[in-house]
Symmetry: C2
Subunit: 471 residues, 2 copies
């Protein structure tokens, strides 16, 4: 028996639930199909538990700064790692429960099972057939685990397992120094675990600017060993694992594999959509409508590999849900790119990446935080921030940073890029004293001094007159 | 003998030095007159040493959070207050030295002494007379100490003395819960000193929004006793001081008086300028030119009582210096108001204060941080932030807050107000997950939902279509 719906949403994660919120405002005739447990990647195994771990690790790490602040006794501090992991799970359960409220509300509209396309408007789910005028694919992603790591069995962890551990061993390798790998490696090191990080790339945490990357590598390397630029491979040595990369090797108890995520679209019968899939199995789609080719099918969130970030997944779910309820898809302008890695100092990329820009057309402004006033007072004076602006217009195009409290500076820059402001317009805002934002201002002034037709005044004035700088 | 100059700058503080930087680019014929020691209020006794003290206090305070993060042994931590004060002075000396470089450079152009106006272009300095075509008054300010507190002698401290102490006693009163009083009282309490705060007002730290103020009072009161709404007075009891306010009283060893600052203009012969002074002795001046009436005299920085904040003093010095070198003064648009108090949670007022706004013309959006995701993970989930927007246009007019890491949220809002953006335009920026800025977004969405002609979409879109919210 085939039941017919206006809309079928496949996947009850962040993006699917975002689509659901739009769809259910306009129709009751929808179905939510989900395979496996409910609760989103973000809440279950992603952003939220990782930040709970990181905050605990940073709190314990502060003991290393206490001496500089004239506080003694730090040598007596000890962290209870099993308790930290229990706290992570307790907080996580709260966030997951928040997500489940919504899935509970629509349980009469839900089917548990794996959906497979028979035709663009027809799905097989177990022994049922589901027909829908519009279908939204929001099946999320899972960690990539290459075969040589998979064979390690329980000695190999991914972000899916890490937070489920009762405790953690004293020596671990983290394979993959992307965003997740870098922030988790630092957190585990700060909890007292001996960590060695590996990556085939010389660049970590999504940075493209080599100067910022060098600073990030140097600062993180002060906390844990890192081997970059060579592929790592495991060698089982009894109960332990030797991880080898070029001439480097280390023996550890467990390995965290953080090599990125794969979209959950490989067993969905996408070949039955009648469109050519790319070499990773992703169908062609328009990121401003989320529509797949000209089919009544949309693909949103991690499933499309486009921007596997929570805030983007929510936008994509919204766009897909919105368009599923219309005859003609509407085209949405996406937000300015923003990627943050929750290391300390914080790593972030805002707007255009350095490598995307034509170096002849930009000026670069930078600030080294090692002598920044507020950062010195807070014993967090390290890091580098670089801003990129159009040489002629002064438009701020992007920034990369490894900077104290970088996540906040990144948001200020994201608003600037989103609103298409120039470096001088940004310099017209008040910068209080003493704050880390004054470090950003140093970088902006550096960029402003290199602009064509330079006029250094960063104080707005009613009467235009070619004033000189406040420097 | 009378020497003649193009420009005389009275005062070598932040504002005077800012004026100097502009003036010396255009003339060598200037003089810098300074009474007393060099180095700015900000670097010597203001922003910088206070933040050095606060950062140490916050570091020691973290021990109270360690248990929540599953770190044990915090009971063994001890702070060495004399060492904290030495660190404050060491850092301060570095910042002061930075300021002195500039005054050293111009020492051939400097006169030590107190300047007194004989005429608008003629000054008496000791036994010399100084004539200048233009004169800039940048004499700064000093702490107000009413007579009943002054008689306490060395048992009474102001911000001028606090950082000079070798150590601090175990019980202190802080009289005045403005910005400085609030942040220093909390810092001293966090260093383990038993603090009692007093203010005649019910509002603290410059807040005008009673709801935000209530939260700020409640949170700070959890760390030290505070008696508001009654004038405090001292009663000497042997070696100690009883501070009384209404029915409340407390016996302490020392009192920090933080009752605001007075401009250093009372012995300058301003009566000889030929303009009427206001009841506080301040001459009439234009805050967009810094010119006093139509005289060739400018007044900048704390000396004019207008905006006694470092970043404003720098702007005013710049404007005064710029205009001193012109025949006709240029009019400058001042930056959006921004005031930050470095308590934890942070207190800030951005743009229009709540009490300045017509309540019939605005909508208010708010967020309570007690359940905010990131704040919960970092054990900093307390505080309230309220934004004010024009009901019809949606223009963001201002905000008041007592919020975790409020200084960063305040800068994001300051840019928004400076660029005259609407609530919806601000909602169009990316908010990463999980960050404290998502708390601000909650307040913005709350405000957006109350706007006239509501259209809740916070995702920008190319094709205008009246889309519904991503909620």
């Amino acid at each position: 028996m085939t039941k017919s719906y206006d809309v079928a949403i496949i996947g009850a994660g962040s993006s699917g639930l975002s689509a659901l919120r739009v769809v259910r405002k306009q129709t009751d005739n929808f179905v939510l199909i989900n395979h496996g447990s409910y609760g989103t990647t973000c809440a279950r195994v992603g952003c939220m538990p990782s930040k709970a771990l990181i905050e605990a690790a940073n709190a314990f790490h502060l003991r290393k700064m206490l001496d500089a602040f004239c506080v003694s006794g730090a040598e007596n501090l000890a962290v209870d790692i099993p308790a930290v992991l229990r706290r992570v799970r307790r907080l996580r359960d709260g966030f997951v429960a928040g997500m489940l409220n919504l899935t509970d509300e629509v349980k009469d509209h839900s089917i548990a099972g794996r959906a497979r396309f028979l035709e663009p408007q027809l799905l097989q789910v177990g022994d049922r057939r589901v027909h829908a005028k519009k279908i939204i694919i929001a099946t999320g992603s899972r960690p990539v685990v290459p075969g040589e790591w998979a064979v390690l069995g329980p000695r190999m962890l991914t972000s899916d397992d890490l937070f489920e551990q009762e405790t953690l061993p004293s020596r671990m390798a983290v394979v993959g120094m992307g965003g997740l790998g870098s922030e988790i490696a630092q957190a585990l090191a700060r909890l007292g675990i001996e960590i060695t990080g590996f990556d085939t790339s010389d660049h970590i945490a999504g940075l493209s600017d080599s100067q910022v990357n060098s600073v990030a590598v140097e600062l993180l390397s002060a906390e844990f060993a890192m081997h970059l630029g060579q592929a790592a491979e495991p060698v089982i040595e009894g109960e332990r694992i030797r991880v080898r990369a070029g001439n480097e090797s280390v023996v550890v108890d467990k390995v965290l594999v953080a090599l990125g995520r794969l979209p959950n679209i490989d067993q969905m019968g996408l070949e039955n959509l009648g469109v050519a899939l790319d070499d990773r199995g992703v169908p062609p789609f328009d990121s401003s409508t989320m529509q797949i080719a000209d089919l009544p099918v949309y693909i949103a969130g991690d499933a499309n590999r486009h921007l596997p970030l929570l805030h983007e997944a929510l936008d994509e779910g919204y766009i897909a849900g919105y368009n599923a309820m219309r005859s003609e898809p509407a085209c949405f302008e996406r937000r300015v790119p923003l990627a943050i890695v929750f290391t300390d100092p914080g790593i972030a990329v805002v707007g255009h990446r350095y490598t995307e820009l034509n170096k002849d057309e930009i000026v670069i402004g930078e600030v080294d935080f090692s002598n920044q006033g507020r950062a010195r007072m807070a014993e967090m004076n390290q890091g580098l921030l670089r801003v990129y602006a159009d040489k002629n217009s002064g438009l701020l195009l992007g920034a990369e940073m490894c900077a104290p409290q970088g996540e906040h500076l990144a948001h200020l820059l994201a608003l600037t890029v989103q609103r298409k402001l120039t470096v001088r317009e940004l310099l017209g805002m008040p910068f209080y004293h003493p704050v880390l934002e004054e470090g950003l201002r140093t970088a902006l002034r550096d960029a402003a001094s290199k602009l064509v037709g330079k006029d250094l005044a960063d104080l707005a004035y009613c009467e235009r007159m070619g004033a000189d700088a406040i420097d």
